[in-house]
Chain length 495, copies 2
């Protein structure tokens, strides 16, 4: 018998409290919850996600309603998700999009466990797809916790007998019969396989940093107290460190292709001016055709541009957008995060900018800032940027699985070429605004950036989202090469 | 002949430039645009909306593409709107939601003129519905400009002959035929009525602070230069002051009901404890039934709670949410704006929180902060809070027209009662966190807040969104009265 089975069996004893007990305990709980919540709000050292799951028809909603009455509802949001909320983006997208800021609590109905529960019922725990879902969830929650989002997971359970009795009691009174939905009746019918899937789910996704708490739900008073106790216990606990998740499942399993490195780039490559216009027009047309193809309506394109200052990212991007219907592109220049962004996990601001199907998102600098500028300038703690490699790989894999084509471009120039371009910018009145003292400061750390970039290639050059290192001392060559790389990537994925 | 007719006739001369002219002018334009854009980005004193409208099939998209090539595309976003983007919210909601921050430029395809153009074609300019649309747009744009969002409107026009020739030229080449969409062919057929509707639209919505510029579009070079010139001219102009819009159309026309004032509130009203539980349960059930009724799926509910500190807003809100399915409510405590919010028009942060159909949004403090705390504490300039009354009335009217029921609650307590509650909070360990030095500071300005509140009632007590002043020295009375006010409002609108 698994641990989850034992816990479920305990819950099926259908424990109760009597009224005096309830009164006493609920009063103490209430004041304690209020002050624990207040600590979260004022310290703003964490966000809290209370994941509500378990059998249908056991009164989960009522318990959460009560929490709203017990606590300060201004700082307790309820997030409800429906299965199709992601609209063609990765399955986890809706949860990312609505992540609460640090200093707030949110209750989650319709969490990421909804889909896993269905899959477990249908395919069982040994199915590879189910295994992958489990691993992804484990990584998602580990990332959340590492990013100061506490995950508290409640599984509501009771005996078959008690569930049936509850549904019948509600149905017998016209004033409450409306509360019974078809899902509740299904539980009464399919109790056994549902219990099995629930136990498997809990067993597979329990983690010390994101534990499941089983809430016995036969009696509403007991259920309410257990709900409050579980939350209180979590709020009073220091935020745990996620454990045992050093490598993302994807990179561990598949093995990486040989990653490119900066010293392999041949910066002598040039493209003569005479050939440039022809090749550029041709490459733009090739790309335009791909993006106009009906197949593209079922995909989207995510372009990442990285490289040193003055590498020519802006110019290359303009040549790319020229091949597109401007209405299908969103360009996202990435600079310092806003305060709404700073209060949430690092990748949040990129998740919220993912393109819908048929569209293109261009990131002028990107999530790789974490392992480049934030690493070199010590804006992120070593622990944080070191785990970013795996998080990014996982993020990009989810993108690709949902139909995105992810093309990552590094425009590579030499230090001498950068110096020449900086000087030219300073002298040209129409380019002077492009150069700032910060650019010169960054230049002083040239070698550090090279080291960071090479480490980044080594760790994030994946089969699903490889890096393209493009020699860019010759702008003409770089622009055509960028267009060709994108078109080839679309080709490769159009099978 | 109207001014717009004259401008259209000018455009129908189908002017052209020759190649040397184009080359010379485009080069100068390009550098000037780049530096003007740079000024907007670095000064961040305004956002710019470039509204692209006019006849179909004249190459608007190509000109905008070119702007992206000429300017820094990192700071030039393209926003594309479809007719059904508002999903049951007010028609202007999508435009509010995606308003750019100050310091950025956005091109708008599918603007608010799309719907007006269709309506003008269908009903003509004298239709009352069309008149209302025009007035709403005029107010929207005046508000935008007052809030530092510059509105630059381009109307693309050419002669019937030139439009037809362009379409035929595109169709004759298989490489370009795909660019011709059904709308383009309709222009060729219905040129005359379209021209008429366009001229009426331009005539009715031209304003000094948000002028239309007619872009002759027969020749692409001329069209591109005219587009760039219009934008450059706007960027180089100081941001204009909106004029002639002191009173919103709604309040001017309909006359206000007699507004309540604070000295009319009878604070002696109490509700005995014995009656409270019964009445509370009854009122909650009444409200629950309304929100569960199938009719409510086609509406939504927007609740505003205002009143002095310690008036009992939190407690009243909890009694309200208890009558709801917690999954259908979003509670928005309103505190200081984030930096993303500060960079946009004042009402933006409320527009982005409007509920979808079938849902409830509760604002614990609200957009009225502008004419209360921001007025009293001089956080807003007098001009800004004075125009807020009309903007708020217009905002709420749009909400109601789109199906929202807007209920505005003021919980009124006396100064003595507030003092007693402050003292109780300080003494009660579980309430101490509710009282801060700021509460005491606000209390010192009690009279100023009363004056501001009375002015607010006088200016914003509208037929579509009246104020409910509820005596709240007795919390029990207040809680029941709040529930009843909401239920009655839902009743009144359920016709």
């Amino acid at each position: 018998m698994s641990l989850a089975d034992t816990l479920f069996a305990d819950a099926e004893t259908d424990p109760v409290v009597d009224e005096p007990q309830y009164r006493e305990r609920s009063q103490a709980l209430r004041t304690a919850l209020l002050s624990a919540q207040h600590a979260v709000v004022t310290q703003a050292d964490r966000a809290v996600l209370l994941v509500v799951a378990g059998l249908d028809g056991v009164g989960k909603g009522s318990s959460i309603n009560l929490l709203n009455e017990w606590m300060d509802p201004r700082h307790l949001r309820t997030l409800v998700f429906e299965p199709q909320d992601h609209k063609g983006r990765p399955e986890l997208w809706p949860y990312w999009e609505r992540l609460p800021a640090r200093g707030s609590l949110a209750v989650v109905f319709g969490s990421w466990y909804q889909r896993l529960f269905s899959a477990l019922r249908k395919h069982g725990p040994d199915d590879p797809g189910v295994q992958q879902m489990i691993e992804r969830i484990r990584h998602f929650e580990a990332m959340l916790v590492a990013e100061k989002v506490q995950v508290v997971k409640l599984w509501y359970h009771l005996s078959r007998k008690a569930q049936k009795a509850r549904t019948e009691r509600l149905l017998s009174d016209p004033a409450t019969a409306w509360r019974v939905v078809p899902a509740d009746r299904r539980v009464a019918r399919d109790f056994k396989p549902m219990r099995r899937a629930g136990a498997e789910l809990v067993q597979a996704t329990h983690a010390q940093h994101a534990p499941w708490v089983i809430i016995p739900s036969a009696q509403s008073d007991y259920r309410d107290l257990a709900t409050g106790d579980a939350l209180l216990e979590a709020l009073q606990r220091p935020l745990p460190h996620p454990t045992g998740l050093k490598t993302s499942p994807a990179t561990a399993k598949q093995g990486l292709p040989a990653a490119p490195q900066l010293d392999q780039v041949d910066h002598r490559i040039t493209l003569p001016r005479d050939d440039y216009e022809t090749l550029l027009a041709h490459s733009q047309r090739q790309l335009a055709l791909k993006l106009r193809h009906p197949d593209f309506a079922k995909r989207n394109l995510v372009l990442v541009f990285e490289g040193p200052d003055a590498a020519g990212k802006g110019g290359a991007i303009r040549r790319v957008t020229r091949a597109m219907d401007i209405r299908q592109v969103d360009l996202h220049p990435v600079a310092a995060p806003s305060d709404e962004e700073r209060a949430r996990p690092y990748l949040w601001r990129f998740w919220r900018r993912l393109p819908p199907l048929g569209k293109v998102a261009i990131f002028d600098r990107s999530w790789y800032g974490r392992v480049l500028v934030e690493r070199v300038e010590a804006l992120a703690a070593p622990d944080d940027w070191q785990r970013a490699y795996d998080e990014i790989n996982d993020f990009e894999q989810q993108l690709v699985e949902s139909g995105s084509v992810v093309v990552k471009i590094w425009l590579s120039i030499t230090a001498d070429e950068q110096l020449a371009r900086f000087r030219e910018r300073e002298e040209n009145p129409f380019k002077a605004f492009k150069i700032t003292p910060e650019d010169w400061r960054n230049r002083n750390r040239w070698d550090d950036y090279q080291v960071a970039a090479n480490a980044m290639f080594a760790r994030t050059h994946t089969p699903w989202a490889p890096w393209h290192l493009i020699p860019a001392n010759c702008k003409r060559h770089a622009r055509v090469a960028v267009l060709q790389a994108i078109t080839r990537a679309l080709d490769a994925q159009h099978r």
